[in-house]
Amino acid sequence: MLALIPLFPFIGFLVNATMGRRLSKGLSGAVACAAMIASFAVAVMGVLEIAGMPADARVIEQTVYTWIASGDLSLDMTFRLDPLGAVMVLVITGIGSLIHIYSTAYMHDEVDSEFARYFSYLNLFAAFMLVLVLGGNFVVMFVGWEGVGLCSYLLIGFWFRKQSASDAGKKAFVVNRIGDYAFVLGMLFLFTQFGTLDFARLASIASTMPVEEGVFGAISIATLMLFIGATGKSAQIPLYTWLPDAMEGPTPVSALIHAATMVTAGVYMIGRNAVLFSHAPETLFIVAVIGAATALMAGTIGLVQNDIKRVLAYSTVSQLGLMFLAMGVGAFGAGIFHLYTHAFFKALLFLGSGAVIHALHGEQDIRNMGGLKKGLPVTYWTFLIGALAIAGVPFLAGFFSKDEILYETFHEGHTLLWLVGAITSFLTATYMFRLVFLTFHGERRHDALASEPSHPSDSAPSHHLHDAPPAMALALIVLAVGSVLAGYIGVPHALGGHNQLAAWLAPSFQAGAAVPEVGGAEALSDAEAALELTLMGVSSAIAISGILLAAFVWVKRRSIADAMARRFSGLHRLLLNKYYVDEVYDAAVVNPVHVMSREALWRGFDVQVVDGAVNGAAAIVSAGSGILRRLQTGSVRTYASSMFVGVIVILGYYLWR
């Protein structure tokens, strides 16, 4: 039954891939959506089933067949649904379905075959993503892991005629590959250490081992490797650079892959191996630091970007940073919680931006927008909700999750990290509302310059704005509702909630059938409750102030922004160019390798040395031939003397040796 969950989208993929160009748009769209919804349904059934089980045994497992068996290595194609998996599956299929529906409208300007191709990719992605989260051991997970990478490659490069698009696609895949390299090594290391790659068994073995406090032992190395893999997939320092470029893809893709699901795979992976990681505090600390650093850096960059999608992309990076921070401080539940809420509002925001871009015929630069509030009410209001949610305004989804992260961080004693987190959320609020204000408020700037066609979906530019068509509107509204309510399954105890999510997830973070400690039942001491409340206050304050600052700068006094930009032009440029990280990578790694390979290895070693040796041998032979043949002078006397020399030498040898 579990196999069905990824199977449906896969079938959808096959249908669209094979006979897509013969199907009408409506049909292929319908097929794709149907596939997604079907798998959503199955997923719900599965979740309900495990929900019906006792808390410590909430697992369904299905082994399809033995995939690879070689010597003591035996890898089964195993799917396993447990609380953690349940959350992920619901997010993926649910939001996935919405985005599929949204896409039917968004991609409607494509020709049939391209339309079908789009949906086949999208379905394939969903299938792989589901394999990723349902996989019962590392290698199955890796199948999904690589598969989603492939699909993101395909979808980013969907408009392959655009050079930048195909570049971005390649960049995404290659950067991910770097992570995967570490990930594979991690797997190999785990297998050589533990003799298995099954999550459950790994966890139970690891739980019997001592926590590597202060020592950097086997588990630490393995987990570190895995984490590097995660940085690739989830766009963390140092491998985050591909995500902003990934915005070249169609917006729904950005929403689904680069906001809601794929990029969170790294977080999920850590959660999935919570036991391993919690046995490697050293690694965890690194995770936390990297997460925090990424969050901060991305936030600062997001502050000055002008491309609506890039802003969202950087905010995604930054939010992912927060999630890793959570994971790093051991608050796995919180991390997943934020992952879950983030899925809603970030998808919402992306889709909203998509609606805007759609309305403006591909215009993406916020400096050319503004005043769209009236033109696009639905989009505006849903976008606003999303913004509020991500900003962490109280009692929206983002509030609870982000808040839990900050609390846990502080509670675990990482004050500095907490501070970084706080600043990040401040930045988040600021740049999100900068986005909101520049896009929807103020006067309209976009008709001033005719938006040149940068986007195949540019049909005849019509001047009156049309708001999101029903399919898109539906998705927006549903997600907006989600962004408001999603948080309420994780209301912290301090607010008298029961944090059901944490309780629900807990078993996934223990080895085997260990009893959950973070059960919903246990109560907090007053002190903790007080602390948590205080922190909540602080963070909401931060959020609000961030919004206010944004409002002040970008609504009241536009001049200030420019003034600041001029004032700290250096800093501004630095941020605008994302700290020149790409440039540094190119200069430090890519180009040297290229030059070295071309000049030193190929033209130098290969052609000169090796082939030189080979041809040199031939040359020597023919040269010797040229010389020796000269002995054959044609004068019979020379010949006779050569013979005679032979005679003398042989006799001499016999007589005087």
Partner: protein
């Protein structure tokens, strides 16, 4: 049955030879005749696979007929799990190669078909022969048709490439011939009779120094064939200049003979020397992986790029063999098959492009995806297969090899892993430059997409790639027993030697003293 597998193509070649075709009017007949023969051969190989008992490590379908009794040379053939699938692979690729030639070869079709079929016969012969003499005969005989294929139907630099291929390979293999003779002589001095029978020679135990020399002689031959860095420079030339069909066979099957030889001869015959040299071989292999990838990355010519990628991929195979544990060896064999399919496919499709455009330079293409979507899709699939995407054939082999290597010595695995990154870099970069972006050259705008004939072979290749990725046990199962046996042989041999070295020495000495003429190893200082 097994004899049929290599006799059938030979018979086909003869049949073709007697089709009068001076004016080329009967090209069609000849093409069909040869294709049917090749497919028939494939059927035979499949039948052999079907009748193969995966649980036994022994050689099966064994046939033994005395050939040159005076020297204990038999016509002695058989397959085990190691060679079985390689035979099938040969049977599978040859029809595809022939099919690919239908579009590209107009000149001298008859001779072309003859050489292709003869080549197939020789290749299968190499894989099935269990008598070193027989093996060497096939090994050398195989060079001749390949030489003509490259030299006559190749591209502009063909003659140079053909001669280089021939001499390079021969230079390596003649030393192996000496070593083979030496082995037979050792056998005679130990037992009194010459023998080239592989199984008998396995039983022989050989003095360490002698092992070293012979191992080096054998391994040089195989290393050149593989080709192992730094013996690889014949490969780019041969690949680039060969006609499509030639490249497909060359990459698909010929290169495997080197690694097959290592598995079948170098390691089990000279276990100690093998274990002594394995790390060095592995170092070369790992260098080859990274080096091949880096050089491939900067190639302007598609065929050259794929050629260098082969250097890199076969580095993996050698690495797996050197690891000499189950995962390593099984992975190596699996990688051989996978590489045969995927690289064969790549050459096939590059060939299709160059048939259409008469250029292989990446710079001359661009944006083809808009023009030839089918070809693009297929090319992408095979590309992904060759960069080892899970779910396709490449991954299984690489993963197993890396695992085996990691357990043997993590350092090798760590470096070799870089190949995984680099392969993605150069392959995708090529795909991007060739297929994505706007159509840069006008003449590309009108290219023909796959015609049914091409469609068939392409689909076959992609299908196999997929099957091998999803259901690898189909292929891993048959080789299991044989691989275990092989590893057993190598390990036991060396442990035994380590255990009682003294006995060995004395034993060796005694077998020396039996020698009728000179003792065997003073002659090594020529």
């Amino acid at each position: 049955m097994l004899t049929l597998s290599w006799l059938l193509p030979l018979a086909g070649a003869l049949a073709v030879m007697f089709v009068p075709n001076a004016d080329g009017r009967r090209d069609g007949v000849i093409r069909w005749l040869s294709l049917v023969t090749a497919i028939g051969t494939f059927a035979v190989t499949l039948a052999i696979w079907g009748g193969f008992d995966p649980d036994s490590a022994a050689f099966q379908f064994v046939e033994r007929v005395p050939w040159i009794p005076a020297f204990g040379i038999d016509y002695f053939i058989g397959v085990d799990g190691i060679s079985l699938l390689l035979v099938v692979l040969t049977g599978f690729l040859t029809p595809i190669a022939l099919l690919s030639s239908w579009g590209s070869i107009e000149r001298k079709v008859k001779e072309f078909s003859i050489f292709m079929l003869a080549l197939e016969a020789a290749m299968i012969g190499v894989f099935v022969s269990l008598d070193l003499f027989l093996f060497y005969v096939f090994w050398d005989a195989m060079l001749i048709p390949m030489y003509f294929l490259i030299g006559i139907w190749g591209y502009d630099q063909r003659v140079y490439a053909a001669v280089k291929f021939m001499l390079y390979t021969m230079a390596g293999s003649v030393l192996m011939l000496i070593a083979i003779l030496g082995l037979a002589y050792l056998h005679s001095s130990a037992t009194g009779v010459y023998s080239f029978d592989l199984l008998k020679l396995y039983a022989l135990d050989i003095a360490p120094q002698t092992q070293t020399w012979f191992f080096l002689a054998f391994t040089l031959a195989f290393a050149i064939k593989v080709p192992l860095f730094p013996f690889h420079t014949w490969l780019p030339d041969a690949h680039v200049q060969a006609p499509t069909a030639g490249s497909v066979i060359l990459a698909g099957v010929l290169l495997k003979m080197g690694t097959y030889g290592l598995l079948r001869f170098s390691f089990p015959l000279f276990p100690e020397a093998a274990t002594y040299f394995a790390p060095w071989l592995a170092v070369l292999a790992v260098i080859g992986i990274v080096y091949g990838a880096l050089v491939a990355m900067v190639q302007p010519d598609m065929k050259k790029l794929v050629a260098y990628s082969s250097v890199s991929h076969l580095g993996f195979v050698v690495l797996g063999i050197c690891a000499m544990n189950v995962q390593g060896v099984q992975g190596a064999i699996y990688q051989m098959l996978a590489h045969g399919v995927s690289t064969g496919g790549l050459f096939l499709m590059v060939g299709m492009l160059s048939d259409r455009r008469h250029t292989r330079l990446i710079a001359d293409f661009g944006g083809l995806k808009a023009v030839v979507p089918k070809l693009t899709a297929a090319f992408l699939i095979i590309t992904l297969a060759s960069i080892g995407l899970p779910g396709l054939n490449g991954f299984i082999g690489e993963f197993l090899i890396l695992l085996g290597a990691f357990r043997w010595d993590p350092r090798f695995a760590v470096v070799a892993g870089l190949g995984v990154i680099l392969s993605a870099v150069y392959m995708l970069w090529m795909v991007q430059r060739v297929y994505y972006g706007p159509v840069t050259h006008a003449e590309n705008a009108t290219l023909r997409d796959l015609v049914p004939r091409e469609w068939v072979s392409v689909v076959a290749l992609c299908g196999i790639a997929l099957v091998m990725g999803i259901a690898p046990m189909l292929f891993l199962r048959p080789m299991e027993a044989s691989v275990d046996a092989l590893i057993q042989r190598v390990q036991t041999a060396q442990t035994l030697r380590v255990k009682d070295d003294g006995r060995q020495k004395s034993k060796v000495k005694s077998q020396r003293s039996e020698n009728t003429s000179e003792p065997l190893d003073h002659t090594f200082d020529f």
